[in-house]
């Protein structure tokens, strides 16, 4: 089969198809190509490029983990623009603003261009050979459990290689960390539905009741959800236009599009969910006995008192949910960010059960049948575990890839100090971000538009699919490397024999795909080259026969216990809501200037941070727009401009995440503040996830005032009586007449 004699099972594991009963072709995989094309100067003609004519290649967007397929427009060897690939069930040809900015990540002037080794306070450029040798050397005399590898969410062959590398050094310490992932909701879904991430059929729902799930903004798979939302609004299958009710304490872009936006007292989302179940019971919906008993105490008067949502509104919600089925209830980041976040999410999921939505609008997703490649989703509990280990001096060597914990962890966690306790820290990064600055060795990565890879999205829209990443142009910088190539080089240090056949990650990927050709839809194609080129050309491997996970609905009423709404803390009277903007998210994309200059959809502010405060509270405290206020929590303080914003609970303030970088690059550094820094270390009681919304703060004016830089005019959002954006009530509009 190959020039090495290790056995077939190992080989499968090497290539990522291990742990599965999938059909393999069994025939040899032939030669492995180097993947290096000859670089041809444009003075010589070639038959695949005509000057001034664009060519298009498919790949996968890596700006977030949703896994949208993209088509890059390439002219004269340069990638110019990214469009959505219409063949993907996830994004169907569409992209978000964040995705559009992928080219700015690629062409970014602040990318690191050579491996950097720390000497004192400065970095010295070294060769890759030296860097690899250094890693090899530092791992000698260190046992496997003294090595930790921190990553973001990971999937595909990169995850396989990482797993095999960790295996080769005898370490089980892979920490997958996402600062703002829906980790509590995943755990609650697992309990409620039997799967962490089911399919949400927004387009089939007639009512969507979302508790802080910003599905049009930054939640899970926003481009997919946005398209579903458009169908939902048009009213599919002869239904009337779908109704969106959004419950949250700070308006998200999804809330801004709701038919009814309900502001709740922070943390009482679960209580409202149980109150609605109680009201459904009162409206004659058949509720299972145990659940009815569990919600007995949640009558609308009490719930109204606790949450601030009027009893009349609770009745209306129960009415519309009863009348219009199926509906869909979503638990999002705003509901999960509390010490009782798991309980909130469980209570909300219970609504889907009593409304009979499970199996209709909450469906089992298709599963890629290769567990080795399945997404390893990240969470904050992983960071805490790593931090505890670092603090205890457990880890001597730390690798970090795809995350920036020095920026995204609460300062109270002291991650930066604890990181320093590891003897040798290697950071794989595109930019010298806050974490890279703490490293001993920084290894510069290729951009996602220069690299090879496979990706499996956590949220599977329809059939299962494996996304392909391929370079859309030649590398910009000679001395950057793809993460796959780096891991391959590292694993070769340990298992040279097994990985000898693969010159590079491209060769490895090609061999892997061809090895499993039949299972990847290539049974009909005898010619490996043709199949491989077809695969690259499509940019997606669709696994038509893939199984769907099965949902198992469990009655979640047992063990549900929601705390009383917390009393206002006299010293820290306001709740801090660190908000997630669809473009800037956890701050990894902040150095892309289009995103800095793209106005926040709610406030229209650009290039800076702000604190949202309700007009009533602002008047009470004498705060006007542009006042610089000091926001102080138990864990720290920051100074930020105030913006008077009606879409927030008067007992809460909100500061967006993603800005406030002290490093990373010219477009990120020095703009705004970083609210991660002042978060209190409060954790969800069941999952141990950082409770992002549990920080309480006090604010005081500093006396300074600035002009807020924003896109809206001096009259704010007032149409001044003009017919600019009129509203039509549904009892008047007749959408069925429309094209």
């Amino acid at each position: 089969m190959m020039n090495s004699d290790f056995d077939r099972r190992d080989f499968l594991k090497v290539l990522g198809w291990g742990g599965t009963a999938v059909a393999l072709t069994g025939c040899g995989n032939g030669m492995v190509e180097s993947g290096k094309e000859t670089v041809v100067s444009y003075v010589e003609t070639n038959d695949y490029m005509v000057p001034s004519v664009s060519v298009y290649f498919n790949s996968t967007c890596a700006q977030c983990d949703a896994g949208c397929s993209i088509t890059g427009r390439i002219r004269e060897g340069r990638v110019l623009k990214l469009e959505g690939n219409p063949d993907s069930a996830i994004n169907r040809g569409k992209t978000c603003g964040l995705g559009q900015a992928g080219v700015q990540n690629h062409y970014n002037p602040d990318r690191i261009r050579a491996p950097l080794l720390r000497t004192g306070n400065s970095g010295e450029a070294i060769t890759w050979e030296k860097a690899y040798a250094l890693i090899d050397e530092k791992l000698k005399g260190v046992s496997g459990n003294e090595v930790a590898f921190l990553t973001g969410g990971m999937s595909g062959h990169l995850k396989v290689l990482l797993g095999n590398y960790m295996d080769s050094i005898g370490s089980k310490n892979h920490f997958a960390y996402e600062a703002i992932g829906p980790a509590v909701v995943r755990a609650a879904n697992k309990k409620s539905y039997g799967v962490e991430m089911p399919r949400f059929n927004i387009s089939k729902a007639r009512v969507v009741l979302s508790f802080g799930a910003d599905f049009l903004g930054a939640w899970v798979s926003p481009v997919n959800f946005s398209q579903q939302y458009a169908q939902f609004r048009k009213g599919a299958d002869g239904h009337k236009r779908g109704v969106l009710i959004q419950v949250e304490s700070k308006m998200t872009i999804t809330g801004a599009n709701a038919d009814r936006w309900l502001v709740v007292r922070p943390g009482t989302e679960g209580i409202l969910a149980l109150g609605i179940i109680n009201a459904l019971d009162a409206h004659g919906v058949n509720i299972p006995g145990d659940i009815a008993a569990a919600v007995k105490g949640y009558d609308k008067d009490r719930v109204s008192r606790d949450t601030g949502v009027s009893a009349e509104q609770i009745d209306k919600i129960a009415d519309i949910l009863k009348e219009r089925t199926p509906s869909l209830v979503l638990a999002g980041s705003a509901a999960e960010g509390y010490a009782h976040g798991s309980q909130n999410a469980a209570a909300i999921n219970l609504l889907n059960q009593v409304l009979g939505n499970v199996g209709k609008t909450v469906e089992a997703a298709a599963v890629v049948p290769f567990p080795q490649m399945a997404p390893a989703t990240g969470n904050t509990a992983a960071l805490k575990a790593l931090n505890d280990g670092l603090s205890a001096g457990k880890y001597k060597v730390l690798f970090s890839y795809g995350s920036n914990p020095v920026f995204t962890s609460p300062a109270a966690m002291k991650f930066k100090d604890n990181m320093a306790r590891a003897d040798f820290k290697v950071v794989f990064a595109q930019y010298l971000d806050e974490t890279a600055l703490q490293a001993d060795l920084v290894l510069p990565l290729d951009s996602a538009l220069e690299d090879w890879g496979t990706q499996i999205p956590e949220y599977m829209a329809e059939g299962a699919q494996i996304n392909i990443l391929q370079p859309l142009m030649e590398k910009l910088h000679a001395d950057t490397r793809g993460m796959g190539d780096i891991l391959l080089a590292l694993v070769k240090q340990r298992r040279a024999e097994e990985y000898k056949p693969f010159d590079d990650y491209y060769g490895y990927l090609r061999a892997a795909v061809l090895q499993n050709k039949a299972a990847l839809g290539g049974a009909h194609q005898a010619d490996n080259d043709i199949f491989w080129n077809e695969t690259l050309s499509k940019g997606i491997i669709k696994l038509d026969g893939a199984q769907h996970a099965s949902l198992s609905v469990k009655s979640g009423a047992a063990g549900l216990s929601l705390p009383e709404p917390s009393a206002i803390d006299a010293q820290y009277p306001l709740q801090l809501i660190p908000s997630v903007n669809a473009s800037l998210r956890d701050g990894r994309n902040t150095n892309q200037p289009w995103l800095q200059e793209s106005p926040d959809p709610l406030t229209t502010i650009v290039w800076d941070s702000w604190m949202e405060i309700h007009p009533k509270k602002a008047a009470e405290l004498g705060i006007v727009e542009g006042d610089i206020v000091e926001v102080t929590s138990k864990s720290g303080s920051l100074k930020v401009q105030a913006y008077i914003f009606p879409g927030i609970h008067p007992d809460a303030i909100s500061i967006p995440l993603g800005r406030g970088h002290e490093a990373m690059g010219r477009y990120a550094k020095g703009y705004g503040v970083n609210p991660f820094q002042i978060l209190d270390m409060v954790y969800d009681k069941e999952t141990g996830e950082l409770a992002m919304h549990e920080t309480r703060v006090k604010i005081s004016k500093t006396g300074e005032r600035v002009i807020v830089v924003k896109d809206e005019g001096p009259v704010g959002g007032n149409q001044e009586g003009q017919k600019i954006v009129p509203l039509m009530p549904t009892d008047k509009a007749n959408l069925s007449k429309e094209i």
């Binding site: 458009a230 308006m251 872009i253 959809p601």
Partner: protein, 284 residues
Amino acid sequence: MSISTLFENYSEFRHRHPDGDVPHNPYKWAMAIDLDACSGCNACSVACYAENNLPVVGREKFAHGQVMHWMRIERYWDQDGREFPDRGARYLPMLCQQCEAAPCETVCPVGATNHTPDGLNSQIYNRCIGSRYCSSNCPYKVRYFNWWDYPSTDNVWPAEMNMQLNPDVTVRGKGVMEKCTFCIQRIRGAEIDAKTQGRLVRDGEIQTACMQACPTSAISFGNLVDPESKVHKQWRAQQVELDKHEQVKDEEPGGTDLRGYRIYEWLAPYPSIMYLERVRESEI
């Protein structure tokens, strides 16, 4: 001609583009934007930056009102004195309306902005002298002036970033006015292709950058004089007529149940973009 005749037949006199008995043959490019689908996400705006070589001006110049976003999202709140905006916000993608009787065109001292036979309001950069009268006269405030020479300004297109510039679109220098072109480079490309093949541009063949990105497919674009085009059908179904500044349907007692409208229609610029009103559920 008396003044009263002029007022009575205002739209006839105002509708000057293009000249001749057969206007807009074979193309009249137009849009329909469904505000009930639009979520205000800004993807269109970023896509426009990517396609049309729009400079990122930075914080300070943005503060001075020098932002260059050809496509911007306006956000409005209900003004009914309620404590919370519990009906959400209202979003409006605002871009050049490609008016048929564009107020910007008549005031240009050098004829830098004028009308094309296929119904676009075009801007000739190398004729523009920067008087900015057009911008003053634009009711939609969608014209953007190059106060600076962005290609030579620090950190606008530093090395490598400049490799992303679209070679089909001019990079504008200091002193000229610019605005949304309906992605004229894509339109011309398709028109030329069609002409070489001896046919007309098919519906759907041209997507503007904003429309192509839009995650909710809120934007449709096409040839208004092609009875088979989606845009034509949408305008027709909404009973919005291009060359009227008051629509017949708006005269109906009790108002119409059709959502189509044009912004500042009564000013009679005859905009080429029809918006569909945002809808809100009555029962919740």
